[in-house]
Symmetry: D2
Subunit: 333 residues, 4 copies
Amino acid sequence: MPRIAVVGAGYWGPNLVRNFQGHKDCTELWVCDQSKARLDQMRTRFPGLKYTESYDEVLKSNVDGVVLATPVSTHYELARRALERGKHVFVEKPLASSAEHAKDLVSRAEAAKRTLMVGHTFLYSPPVLKVKDLIAKGELGRIFFVTTMRVNLGLHQKDVSVIWDLAPHDFSILFYWLGERPSVITATGKAFVVSGIHDVAFISAEFPSGTIAHLEVSWLAPSKLRRTAIVGDKKMAVYDDTEAIEKVKIFDRGVDFKDPETFGEFQLSYRTGDIWSPKLAQSEPLALEAGDFLKAISDGTTPKSDGLMGLRVVEALAAAQKSLEQGGVPIKL
Amino acid sequence: MPRIAVVGAGYWGPNLVRNFQGHKDCTELWVCDQSKARLDQMRTRFPGLKYTESYDEVLKSNVDGVVLATPVSTHYELARRALERGKHVFVEKPLASSAEHAKDLVSRAEAAKRTLMVGHTFLYSPPVLKVKDLIAKGELGRIFFVTTMRVNLGLHQKDVSVIWDLAPHDFSILFYWLGERPSVITATGKAFVVSGIHDVAFISAEFPSGTIAHLEVSWLAPSKLRRTAIVGDKKMAVYDDTEAIEKVKIFDRGVDFKDPETFGEFQLSYRTGDIWSPKLAQSEPLALEAGDFLKAISDGTTPKSDGLMGLRVVEALAAAQKSLEQGGVPIKL
Amino acid sequence: MPRIAVVGAGYWGPNLVRNFQGHKDCTELWVCDQSKARLDQMRTRFPGLKYTESYDEVLKSNVDGVVLATPVSTHYELARRALERGKHVFVEKPLASSAEHAKDLVSRAEAAKRTLMVGHTFLYSPPVLKVKDLIAKGELGRIFFVTTMRVNLGLHQKDVSVIWDLAPHDFSILFYWLGERPSVITATGKAFVVSGIHDVAFISAEFPSGTIAHLEVSWLAPSKLRRTAIVGDKKMAVYDDTEAIEKVKIFDRGVDFKDPETFGEFQLSYRTGDIWSPKLAQSEPLALEAGDFLKAISDGTTPKSDGLMGLRVVEALAAAQKSLEQGGVPIKL
Amino acid sequence: MPRIAVVGAGYWGPNLVRNFQGHKDCTELWVCDQSKARLDQMRTRFPGLKYTESYDEVLKSNVDGVVLATPVSTHYELARRALERGKHVFVEKPLASSAEHAKDLVSRAEAAKRTLMVGHTFLYSPPVLKVKDLIAKGELGRIFFVTTMRVNLGLHQKDVSVIWDLAPHDFSILFYWLGERPSVITATGKAFVVSGIHDVAFISAEFPSGTIAHLEVSWLAPSKLRRTAIVGDKKMAVYDDTEAIEKVKIFDRGVDFKDPETFGEFQLSYRTGDIWSPKLAQSEPLALEAGDFLKAISDGTTPKSDGLMGLRVVEALAAAQKSLEQGGVPIKL
């Protein structure tokens, strides 16, 4: 049964600590942060854990898995060192700040036969799982396209664009659902508030199967939107994370081709049918995610959100950012 | 007081007939269509108008203005001939099927000192007028960007893409609100149902002032969306045409820059305030549009939706279509 | 094939004329109104019908069915005279302004073997039919209760309370769904704007089966609500007529009783499952209603919204009004 | 600076502990519960507080204020004893299970010159405060009526009806807004799931000023509704607690009387104007409530939700329950 160290106790770290602490398979839990003040806060809230200001101490310990909730710019260095010490590594999304670094981590984990997992939490959320299930069972048919909006008046990041901040969610969901990686990415957008930091972006992606996707991400929007439409040739679905109850709706709608009775013109007809909102599981995504890491360490299984997923997401982010900076030129992957 | 002939009594023509017939300034109204059956239908519904199957007869008559509600491919030829006979011309949107034809019509109308008007009806709709007013008065501040969605499970056109079918609405609204034309247009999308006829498109536009815009148009979507967000540096607005009452909402939200007290870092703060949904006029856009054409004929005034607006929209459509067909390459205008 | 006369060409009459005119089984259609001006308007809109200012002429003619769209206060007199002349009679809702008059009309129609039908149009509307179907098939289980709201800033009637104006809709729907009449009715409310004319009312009804119902009707409300909840012991449904698409939703929710493992305490558990919005037919209720009257005349069948339904609605309205005027005292029927 | 003891650490108690603990004016905090297991749980979560299983110990201590979060049936006894020991008392809603007990507590607190406060938390919630402000400033005009719905598939109480469970919220809000107590109450409803425990109720209340109110409370409803409409003769408002952002909306709508130009008929006209959703404060109601109790103890001020408010709510609950049990007969207060 694994011993875990959560590194970084800032905004997101405490959520990871809470979930690993609560998991029956986690025998020992460390919290590591450079700030003594933060450690003290954590100690009050979670008495009974191990606390240290030294990452080296974590690496030298008998901890099995390291969970990195530190700034993106530190991911590569910290993860590499942990892999070198034979630790299994969980990195918060995105995996790294460049495709090269992400690729290097994937190779190192493979070589070291250690689990590399990335914190794409949405892959464990009930509505995302439900849509995956619908697609896998063929209920929606062949997927024509997916559009997604993730916008609201949100916190500007200081060092990365809205693409690196918000699009990791949508790319990971897309790649999970579609089971393929994009071949071309195009992005437009702009930096309105802070020079050089794009706060609005529109991203198009094309996949080898013919499916296309479109992402809108923004820190500047009048109201919060978290809406994804999935259009298949049989049915269509909407996943709206701002809805309290009906987060996933399946529309029995589509275009039918009728056999032309006479030679010549094709015949289209539109089908509109029932709308169905399935009940979703009540499970907490972070708890499932923590469990997936613990299981990977114990059994050697591949976690759903593995290093390869993390790498693909980083490649897509880098391509989108590049297209954006070149005025919307399509970038091949 | 003008005499008017509506040419084309198919899907849209009857709406124009109804509105010109009902207008106090329209002394005489003709209806022209090649199909005798359609004319008979119209005659039953609107007794007391003049009916003819011959466009020549219209051109030879003392009719002052010709209103073309015929297929796009016929616009150029029919409008050119009417201008040659000294008629004022109203053309349903889009003005023509190529920028060259649109430009030629604008030149001819200028040379002939005749009104050339295009049926961009949204320029006469109360919510669009209200947003124009908000922008003109500076209530929203400098406009950062506009995003718009016009999607649902809609009728496929046989000969034109979804861009030519739906984007005329959004481009005309945008150009009217912003008072400028785009410098670059990028579009991605795909033809899923009928080969060669794109049924989904994502269009980005950049304007000289720095404002950007993004349009999503689709005939394949699970539910009807008609939503436009206008983000300014002072306030933000949403225009949602599917709302029964609150079609326009103004959000007193934005990003404020605080004077840094110390040298160095900028300071951002987020402002969220009241939301306000102004009462809109109840006027029928088509009636205002018909009146604008009649007034232009009588007084020589320039209609709001003039030939130049029509030309700019056609240029934008052509650029978007070109980018789409070239895989998303940015097109300069 | 029946000859029909629509009497009263005010607010609602023209809708009836349009639907009878369009029906294939209506061979001849008369329009009768005391106002020559109104008849002239109708003549322009519907050329080819018979027009008269004299109700006597209608009664003397070979017209088979008379459709009364006149003020409620005239219903009894006009309907009685038509039945005396052997005409079939369709009366707009409510059937009469007192239970006595309604009862008398029902008796006379029975004695004369003529159809007496009442214009409770909602009994022909697709969402109401769908809910009836759900109840009839037992999908909702035993019906615990029904609550309904019909409110907005609406036109005050000059001579009748909001109960007589709006509650006929809800009572007719309720009686159709439940297949029974109430045993007790209680109502509270008040006249705020015009003395003596109640503009807000809250009505409770109890049925012999144990089902209860509650109606809120108001001319004074900030926004339009047309919402009915039907709670059964198996499932629950919501019928919301202000929704464009999902007018009916079925919630797989309820309370389950578990067999107590030990003697003693009952065990309740709550079930929340899928939500399902069935596709509804697109038929126009008024066309179905007109067809039902024409069929009743031709075949002698009983229309769905027959005189008995009309009588029960009037009895309920009278009881509610009485309770209201007595400060909410329960009235037995 | 007051010393406080929270008594009862079940469902609600921990929320009170959290808020008193976090308040700067609370010098010492005790937690008292009969269950050692519960105390142990609390001790882990809130280290550093005083814990006891004995209410007597609390009463004998130098604690200034006792906060009762115990079952309703125990309120009277525990509160009475605390007042006898000279403690200030805060009682969770409802104050007592009978009007007699509630009245007795009010008298005792007055005699002992001690604060008696009741936990009607909604009186401290930002949307309720905003509506109070609108009414107080006359923005809505004279209040015609208030309707409120508080329904969903909720937990059945074992010993009290839905009226005693849910209506305390609505009655306290109403009395706070209107500043008066009802003169007559009527209620209908039924016990569907557990015999004798009403799970659905419809309550009408009449106030001396002429305002009326209507409450719908239910544990059996397909979806959660928390909607209150406030209709004044100038404007109308809706308070919807299920809305994330626009919890309060003001509708500039109403009925205007026009001066009749000729003698005779009154003239009504309908006014529909802007809709406005004011920004609400972000304060946590429970923190304000805790502060109000602490301030009352320190300064001798009367808390907003005082014993008299608690008494009036209990009187209304008792009257509604009585009417319900008598089949809807109006009960005078």
